[in-house]
């Protein structure tokens, strides 16, 4: 990531998936702190809290309890303070409708979680590489 001090917001309810992301990030030497929240509502609460640090990127799962990823995007992308934070969808769903909905709501990327951990590490490596090169507004 370009700015290593800003946290990565991981909105994900599956514990092993969280471990997978953490491990992969560690494996590719990403030092940003990771904030893990279990659903969209928790994430919005965190983002709206003035004391919490704004993340440099949001890794978003779609299928979550209480408030799913699409519902989260519908709120976040209407909020002027949040809409410029890049959101990368990280999901198992390869349903066309989910992809369409996500891009309609202005996501920066859509990654399918591979079953194979090694492949997952490569996905994370690519995401990191991209967001290390890409400029972001302050």
């Amino acid at each position: 990531m370009k700015i290593t001090s800003k946290p990565i917001l991981l909105v994900e309810d599956d514990q092993v998936d969280v471990m997978t992301v953490m491990r992969a990030l560690k494996e590719i030497h990403v030092t940003n702190p990771v904030v893990n929240l279990e659903n969209g509502e928790e994430a919005l609460k965190y983002l709206h809290d003035p004391v919490s640090k704004k993340p440099c990127i949001i890794l978003l799962d779609l299928n979550m309890p209480i408030m799913n990823g699409i519902e989260f995007l519908q709120v976040a992308k209407r909020d002027d303070r949040l809409k410029r934070i890049p959101v990368v969808v990280l999901t198992t769903s390869d349903e066309q409708q989910d992809k369409v909905n996500s891009f309609d709501l202005g996501v920066a990327g859509y990654m399918e979680k591979p079953v194979d951990y090694r492949q997952f590490v490569e996905v994370m490596r690519t995401i990191d590489a991209y967001w290390t090169i890409s400029e972001l507004p302050q």
Binding site: D14, V16, D17, M19, T20, R23, L62, N63, T91, T92, S93, D94, E95, Q96, K113, P114, V115, D116, Y117, R118, F120
Partner: protein, 461 residues
């Protein structure tokens, strides 16, 4: 056979129309009868009047004559001629009126005529005597009583004729009354029957409508059930892709970490078990993918576009990247077809990947061809691989059926089932010919109605 509502209504209205027509005809007949009877009754009345007039005229003629005989004044003879003419006119009228009678009236009339003629002749005779021989002779002739007798004869026949005519008039009046009564009955029956018919028809239609409404309700309910079932299936796809894959991915990741983090703690057997474990995770993953792909065919609709199969097949070959030992040839120009690109790609990809995957010869040859056959394109993919025993021809198209153990050749058993489903969805057919050890040919057809370009033989690639 169940009649449709239109049929029933039409029949009902036709019957109503026929009844109305029949009633109209009957009413017409009765009216005509009534009019005829009324006319005849009136004519009888006139005849009676005429008869009475004749008798009175005869009396008057006689009276005038007597006055002349007594007085000898010529002026009393003057109206006599007119009376006699009038009598003859009336007689002719009566004759016409009873022309169709056969109850003896005509005979009576003839007799009356004879009496009148005789009486008139007698009168003429007396007149002659008065003129030529004087009053006394005439008086004697008049007193002879011949005239009296004839006059009685006239009176009697007139009475009889009147009696007969009155009876006839009564008959006609009776007939006209009967006709009038019948008309009333016909109108009443008509009114009631048409009313009943329309009521029955109305009830029929109302019941049919109710039934139809019921059926519609049922259909709507069924449709709703179908929609929810479809929705469930769609959700099932999502559940399979996410909820089954999430734990599977966790197992895969955890197994990977175990074998990485504790590599030095596992002995060879443990390492082998871990390798198998990760392999099975991958297999289950591709099985789930296969189910998803299979369930999506026909459920998820894609835009139908013109697909140039020359390009598509080459792209598929590039994607599969066959080893250098296998040569894939497109034997002739492929057509351009109107279809969903992903589906047709799945067909070629699965058939070609099977041919490549199971190739057992050092020099593999796979040939792709297409010919126009009637209203269809017939595609063929021929390989020189191991071939398939005829007894398996049916089985290989079933879901999850494989011929080789999965450990030897990694396969989900979805591919050919998927191909068959796609081909049949487009109205085509799939089959194969094979000689064990020499290879096999898969054929499939697609209707040409979806095709838009020709195919020519012998354009090698």
């Amino acid at each position: 056979m169940k009649w449709s509502i239109e049929h029933k209504a039409l029949t009902g209205f036709t019957v109503a129309l026929v009844i109305i027509a029949a009633i109209c005809w009957l009413a017409y007949q009765s009216t005509v009868g009534f009019m005829h009877a009324s006319t005849r009754a009136a004519r009888s009345q006139e005849t009676i009047t005429a008869l009475e007039e004749i008798f009175s005229l005869m009396n008057q003629a006689e009276t005038r004559q007597r006055i002349y005989i007594i007085s000898g004044e010529q002026r009393h003879l003057a109206p006599r001629r007119a009376y006699i003419d009038h009598i003859h006119t009336l007689l002719a009228k009566v004759h016409d009126a009873i022309a169709d009678d056969n109850s003896g009236q005509q005979a009576l009339l003839r007799r009356m005529n004879e009496h009148i003629d005789a009486r008139l002749a007698l009168l003429e005779g007396v007149l002659k005597v008065r003129r030529e021989q004087g009053f006394e002779q005439a008086r004697l002739k008049l007193m002879a009583g011949d005239g009296e007798r004839e006059m009685d004869g006239i009176h009697e026949t007139v009475m009889q004729l009147e009696k007969g005519e009155t009876a006839r008039m009564q008959q006609w009046i009776e007939a006209s009354r009967e006709n009038a009564d019948r008309m009333l009955v016909i109108f009443f029956v008509a009114l009631v029957s048409v009313a009943i018919l329309f009521a029955v028809l109305f009830l029929f239609i109302v019941r049919e409508m109710a039934e139809r409404k019921q059926a519609e309700k049922k259909r709507a309910l069924l449709l709703h059930e179908l929609e929810s079932a479809n929705e469930e299936l769609r959700n099932f796809g999502y559940v399979v892709s996410h909820d089954l894959k999430a734990p599977l991915r966790a197992i895969g990741s955890l197994a990977d970490w175990l074998s990485t983090d504790y590599a030095d703690k596992f002995d060879d057997e443990g390492k082998e078990h871990m390798r198998l474990l990760i392999g099975r995770v991958r297999r289950l993953d591709s099985l789930i993918d296969g189910i998803l792909q299979y369930s999506r065919v026909g459920r998820v609709k894609e835009t139908v576009i013109a697909v140039d199969l020359n390009r598509l097949v080459r792209e598929v070959i590039d994607l599969l990247a066959p080893p250098p030992s296998i040569v894939v040839t497109i034997e002739n120009q492929m057509p351009t077809v109107m279809t969903e690109p992903t589906r047709i790609q799945q067909v070629f990809q699965n058939l070609l990947s099977n041919a490549i995957k199971y190739m057992d010869k050092p020099e593999g040859a796979i040939r792709i061809a297409c010919v126009a056959e009637g209203r269809q394109w017939k595609f063929s993919i021929t390989d020189n691989g191991p071939g398939i025993d005829q007894q398996h021809f049916e089985k290989i198209f079933q879901l999850f059926q494989t011929l080789a153990p999965r450990d030897r050749v990694e396969s989900t058993g979805v591919g050919l089932a998927l191909v068959k489903k796609i081909v049949e969805m487009y109205g085509g057919r799939i089959w194969l010919e094979s000689t064990v050890g020499r290879g096999c040919t898969f054929f499939f057809t697609l209707p040409r109605t979806v095709a838009s370009a020709g195919s020519t033989k012998g354009n090698n690639t």
